[in-house]
Symmetry: C2
Subunit: 213 residues, 2 copies
DNA sequence: AAGTGTGAAAAGTTTCACAGCG
DNA sequence: CGCTGTGAAACTTTTCACACTT
């Protein structure tokens, strides 16, 4: 956060609710691992850090599968959320810019765990990045288009410096990337059918700075 | 995003406006470096990626210093925003958890550039982290309280695994930390006078996943 | 003519409260 | 009785439009 997202589509379910659905999904996964079969809005809401009414309203956006007096069936709910978020299949992702931050993200397993697979990385100096020994192959950035098209990749994580950021984005867009998780502190220009989600680390720290007295 | 922030205080200026003020500050800095003396809401808004009316409204929260028919004086505006955000002096920050992500952030210069100084890092295995050779000292996590109190640190970046996260937070809170930038995908429990800003990387990617068709 | 400052309308979100079902 | 589902109310944030100043 903030993180900010542009473009809508796919309709009516509020942006913030989408974030929360992902959180619910995560909590439900944990409940399922613990063998829980049902859960009430109060319990799940507490785990997710929201109010029960909000949870119920959010679930209302994607269907209705609770049993009054009892609660929600964990399994069904998991499947429904997963479908609503389009997270039924493993989604391939590429990472561009294997510098400090990019390298750290290549080792980060949080993405895998949520149904995304970082299939390849690209860098202007692939030899340097490769020296850090990842399981994921680091290609030269010149091979970007070919790879994206061949593997039908739709999502990219962008960790390049500000300078080349926009140019890289233009290339990503031109070969069919539809979603970009952008770590550069810069506003990217993209067509309306491409979604950019900005994660601006310095900004988050600044925001925090405002609240300390 | 998203990122999310709890607690208010200091009042009336909308949370989102605070984020944007930081962005304006950044853009203004660039304008100043280019020798620009004044700027119009239209121009600055474009650079910041917002609508002109929104920019004017945001500035309205912290004062009025534009000249009708002309625009805003870059220097004055920079100073005013900086003061409003409490960013007049360099703010010390500690980082806890020097694993993959933590290490990357220790090398990240975006924080310094925005007026924050990461003064020390803490880890359960400081030797391992130290081997990566940072300019910033990595202490054993047992020295946490002593350091925070001695240096009057108010902000912490948290990159520890989910397991120990809440316990570390309790310790941070107990020794006077007031703001926590949390990278663990977990809801932290803190007293109302402490602000937590969550940066959940997997969540941001998931959100993006929703928008690809 | 150009561009700010702002009240008022619109849009978006959250919370409430309660009817209705198992 | 317990808990879901949801319309309506409350609140927050964005956008508009235009009076006003230089």
């Amino acid at each position: 956060m903030d993180a900010e997202t542009e473009r809508s589509d796919k309709v009516d379910i509020p942006k913030k609710a989408i974030y929360r659905l992902s959180i619910y999904h995560r909590c439900l996964q944990k409940l399922k691992d613990n063998g829980q079969a049902t859960v009430s809005s109060t319990t799940l809401a507490k785990a997710a850090g929201v109010k029960p009414a909000q949870l119920r309203k959010d679930l209302g956006y994607i269907g209705q599968f609770g049993t009054r007096g009892l609660g929600y069936p964990v399994g069904v709910m998991l499947a429904t959320i997963r479908e609503a978020l389009g997270r039924e299949h493993l989604q391939p992702v590429i990472l561009v810019g294997a510098g400090n931050l990019g390298s750290a993200l290549l080792r980060y397993h949080g993405f895998q765990k949520e149904g995304f697979e970082v299939v390849a990385a690209f860098d202007a100096q692939p030899e340097v990045a490769r020296a850090r020994e990842f399981k994921i192959p680091v290609h030269d950035v010149s091979e970007l288009e070919e790879f994206v098209i061949a593997h039908e990749v739709k999502l990219a994580i962008l960790c390049v410096p500000i300078g080349p950021a926009q140019e890289v984005v233009n290339r990503l867009v031109s070969c069919g990337i539809q979603g970009i998780l952008n770590f550069s502190p810069i506003m990217l220009e993209v067509p309306v059918n491409v979604t950019v989600n900005n994660v601006d680390l310095a900004l988050e720290l600044e925001h925090l700075g405002y609240f300390i007295r």
